[in-house]
Symmetry: C2
Subunit: 198 residues, 2 copies
Amino acid sequence: MNQSGKEIENLIELMAKLPGLGPRSARRAVLYLIRKRALVLTPMADALSLVATTARECVTCGNVGTSEVCDICSSEKRAIGQLCVVEDVADLWAMERAGTFKGRYHVLGGTLSALDAMGPDELGIPRLVARVRDESISEVILALGATVDGQTTAHYVSEELEGRCRVTSLAQGVPIGGELDYLDEGTITAALKARKDL
Amino acid sequence: MNQSGKEIENLIELMAKLPGLGPRSARRAVLYLIRKRALVLTPMADALSLVATTARECVTCGNVGTSEVCDICSSEKRAIGQLCVVEDVADLWAMERAGTFKGRYHVLGGTLSALDAMGPDELGIPRLVARVRDESISEVILALGATVDGQTTAHYVSEELEGRCRVTSLAQGVPIGGELDYLDEGTITAALKARKDL
């Protein structure tokens, strides 16, 4: 016996699969959608269908967009010569939200990991090396996570690119608004080692 | 300049309107959907379209379902004579999850509230009184929130139904798994007043 109908139950089940939503919040979301049928539910159904047919990976950088070459790769306003290497598309979008970087991107799609059988070929590192050569890149900025896997990957990529271009990585240190008391020892050590003259 | 495409940005904006999701988690949800295109994205688009065309309120109780009379109202297994009054559909579903109540429901669609201009007519309280008369109801169980508005509404409904049937309300007390130390004074007072012999 279900309390609504199998179409609604099915939608709740699908919604509950989204990251950040559980069964209970999926129920609440579906009730909200039914109440806002014209304003949100129908537009969302249309938007999902549209994205299902149009979303694709950029052939150059791996960003997710709706054209063969993404807006960033095809923009003439983006600096040529600088390439920012990120683990995945969410990281690329986070960099874009910061709005400071004006070059182009390269999405690895993960990190080197023996456990997950992710080697340099799975990550498309040869493709990155080819881009550095073909697009006459002068600087590769590694914006990888400050995790063991992220740093292993950064180390490997920087060795592969040695002698081909300048390789830099994001600074490590105290985050803006961060209080020392709440920071881990690793971050404090990194921030101390990278201290600057004022 | 957007980082993906206007179709994807539009979907993110719609997703961010859902209760429980903000702009950041909407982005994560959309990336997840694009990665799980066949498994989740396309089925969800179809499910949303289906719900947009089929979802409707039950003409008898106000539950949300996909038929004119909801599964609960049309089920022959539900006891006749008991009516559980709830504020909204989410509360009805919560009662059903508990699975103990075997009667039928009446959804008020809110509580009496002078601020929101919700009077007895907006809540369909006359319709409830008519149901009690026409369906020969012997007991109305008020399952309204333990808030000021909820209790005001309970009081009003019980007065309207006086002499027509038995009117009861959910017990108030210590929730299962609750620790006294974390409970508010009101709950402890209510639990003490309603103490039982062991």
